[in-house]
């Protein structure tokens, strides 16, 4: 009797319209958040720096792409570039105005990618599917060209790379070489939780319904009075905002510095795979997808050599890398064919089974 709907009658629409109507779900979310914060104090530097921070950053980027591709049905291959816009904007802002706290600039930098994203979203009124994907690909290459060719973006750094300057919050270094993984993890975690909560509010309200309406049946949506262009551009803007913030976090709170090529087309595909495997049109799926694609190779890298060494087989990192591509490829094909709603759907099914347990349905 741990996970039950019974006895939880909704006596008003406020309770019934809640995002997590089940008490168990609310408790579960609370526990997960608590555990995530506890991890900052229990986990070692490797876990935080090499696993948790990137996992959160990619989850945020996946939420961004999911809003566009999963909820609104607009395929984009420009995710990497939109992340880049956020990172470069953040760099310019925090170096130009070092007096303002960097947290402010991280949030503000997202608005720059939102604007650029909406601009490149304009063709979406006329074209969809494959052709729109090609248009976003143009954005990817054009923006990447800007990152390389405009030295102003990196303050004429001779290396051409972005670096993370020292920045503090309440006197504690949160960015730059002196910032500990623990502190950076706490900052990233808090930002990701906040933005996930906001995204969840959006997709569960009027705006989310409008996005899904456009995705499911755009002609009928227009007939409900939903303006297609505005709704799609809003999706582009919000989506790119999330990607932009994720890009800034990636460079300044994870890598600690990066060159333009972290925002290349591979990054775009990487995030797209996370969204597909995690589940199109699901926020929690974005976390699942990021976990699977990012954490899987790390686990493989640790487990496989250990398992194989008793047999005298040494597993090199190149083998792990190949395996990772093969497994991810197989998973994508599996999910596209068998379960287009990804891990999130499997999670949903699992929960429903648990609600009815021990009866089959």
């Amino acid at each position: 009797m741990l996970y039950r709907e019974a006895g939880q009658f909704k006596t008003n629409y406020v309770a019934d319209s809640a995002i997590f109507p089940l008490r168990e779900d609310r408790i579960g979310i609370g526990l997960i958040i608590l555990a995530a914060y506890a991890l900052a104090f229990l986990g070692n530097s490797f876990l935080l720096q090499a696993v948790m921070i990137p996992f959160l950053v990619f989850s945020l980027a996946s939420i961004g792409l999911n809003i566009l591709t999963g909820y609104t049905g607009l395929l984009s291959l420009g995710t990497g570039a939109f992340m880049g816009v956020g990172a470069y904007a953040c760099y310019k802002l925090m170096t130009a105005f070092p007096g303002v706290n960097v947290i402010v600039w991280i949030f503000v930098s997202g608005f720059f990618s939102a604007g650029i994203g909406a601009l490149f979203g304009l063709p979406s009124l006329r074209i969809k599917g494959f052709y729109l994907a090609v248009a976003t690909l143009a954005a990817q290459f054009f923006l990447q060209w800007c990152f390389i060719r405009i030295p102003w973006l990196v303050n004429y750094n001779v290396s051409g790379a972005l670096d993370a300057p020292l920045r503090t919050l309440f006197g504690v270094p949160i960015m730059g070489p002196n910032a500990t993984p623990q502190v950076r993890y706490l900052v990233v975690l808090t930002i990701v939780i906040l933005l996930t909560w906001l995204a969840s509010n959006l997709v569960h309200g009027r705006i989310g319904r409008m996005w899904i309406a456009i995705r499911d049946m755009d002609l009928a949506a227009e007939l409900m009075g939903i303006r297609p262009l505005q709704t799609k551009l809003l999706a582009f803007a919000v989506s790119s905002y999330y990607c932009g913030v994720a890009g800034a976090l990636l460079v300044f709170l994870w890598y600690g510095g990066a060159e333009y090529d972290v925002f290349n087309i591979n990054q775009s595909f990487f995030i797209l795979f996370m969204v597909i495997i995690g589940g199109l049109g699901s926020l929690i799926g974005s976390f699942f997808g990021a976990a699977l694609i990012f954490i899987l190779p790390i686990v493989l890298g640790i487990v496989l050599p250990a398992v194989m060494s008793p047999f005298g087989i040494t597993v090199g990192s190149d083998v792990i890398e190949h395996l990772r591509f093969m497994i991810v490829g197989a998973l994508i094909i599996f999910f596209l064919i068998v379960e287009p709603h990804g891990l999130a759907r499997l999670w949903q099914i699992g929960k429903q089974k648990l609600l009815a347990w021990p009866f089959p349905y």
């Binding site: 629409y13 406020v14 019934d16 319209s17 995002i19 906001l198 509010n201 959006l202 569960h204 309200g205 009027r206 705006i207 319904r209 409008m210 899904i212 309406a213 995705r215 499911d216 049946m217 002609l219 009928a220 949506a221 227009e222 007939l223 409900m224 009075g225 939903i226 303006r227 297609p228 809003l234 049109g281």
Partner: protein
């Protein structure tokens, strides 16, 4: 709520006038010189054999197509070239011949989506799901629940509509159109593919909507029994031309209508 630039309409006034409308697709003429009107609070049937241009007519009325020739006047104002969302905001709602629901959404969300234009709280409040956003959500939920009760679909409130049988989908689609509180409701074969009992239910809903809310309805239907029972006036199309227009009794006795229908029947 209603835009003040339109005159207030009372029962019997001409709500929508179609004058000499023609519509061509390349060489195909879907409509040729069609004129008729729809009066406030009536049920107006549009009938005709397959391919007669009935759906094309509705598409012109709600802005999917723009007539190649002719005029459409709505509430006394000649309509400029407009997009479907503008027609929707002007008070025209519609259901489709092939159900066009938002498949992945629940019944509730589909009908809530029909309230999109009535919801005003801004992005900021939506972001926090607070204040006006949640207040409005609850208000509209209440309205939508009334529609759900009216259409007797309480039991499928939370079911994704893609999983519903066809007859129920048609009902949800009607609910979604009603959620827009339209002045003019266009129904494209709302009873196609239904069994007798379902047809009776649907007929009852249509009559009640018309009588309780005074909603003007334009109805395309192949079942002549239903048409004769429901409609105040009937317009008959054949090969894109109007061949008859009048009360069900007048139309039923019209020789051209009899020929057109016998022509298809055998």
């Amino acid at each position: 709520m209603r835009a003040p630039d339109h005159p207030v309409m009372t029962k019997g006034d001409v709500l929508l006038a179609v004058e000499n409308v023609s519509l061509g697709f390349g060489g195909v003429k879907a409509l040729t010189d069609v004129s008729f009107d729809i009066r406030k609070s009536e049920i107006r049937a549009i009938i005709g054999p397959n391919g007669a241009g009935k759906t094309s007519m509705l598409n012109c009325i709600n802005g999917f197509y723009y007539p190649t020739d002719g005029r459409i006047t709505f509430k006394g104002v000649r309509r400029p070239k407009m997009r479907p969302y503008e027609a929707a905001r002007g008070g025209i709602a519609r259901t489709f011949q092939n159900v066009a629901l938002f498949k992945s959404m629940s019944t509730l969300d589909n009908i809530m989506a029909g309230r999109s234009i009535k919801m005003r709280s801004n992005f900021f409040w939506q972001l926090f799901r607070h204040g006006p956003a949640i207040k409005e959500e609850i208000e509209h939920r209440r309205f939508v629940e009334e529609i759900i009760d009216f259409l007797e679909i309480q039991h499928i409130r939370k079911t994704p509509v893609g999983r519903l049988p066809y007859g129920l989908q048609k009902r949800v689609e009607l609910g979604r159109a009603l959620a827009m509180e339209p002045e003019l409701l266009l129904l494209d074969e709302p009873m196609a593919g239904m069994n007798l009992e379902e047809k009776e239910d649907m007929s009852r809903f249509i009559i009640e909507v018309n009588q309780q809310y005074g909603t003007t309805i334009a109805l395309i239907e192949h079942d002549m029994g239903v048409v004769m029972d429901l409609s105040d006036r009937v317009v008959v199309l054949e090969y894109g031309r109007k061949i008859a227009d009048g009360t069900p009794d007048e139309v039923k006795r019209d020789q051209r209508v009899i020929d057109a229908y016998l022509g298809v029947a055998h």
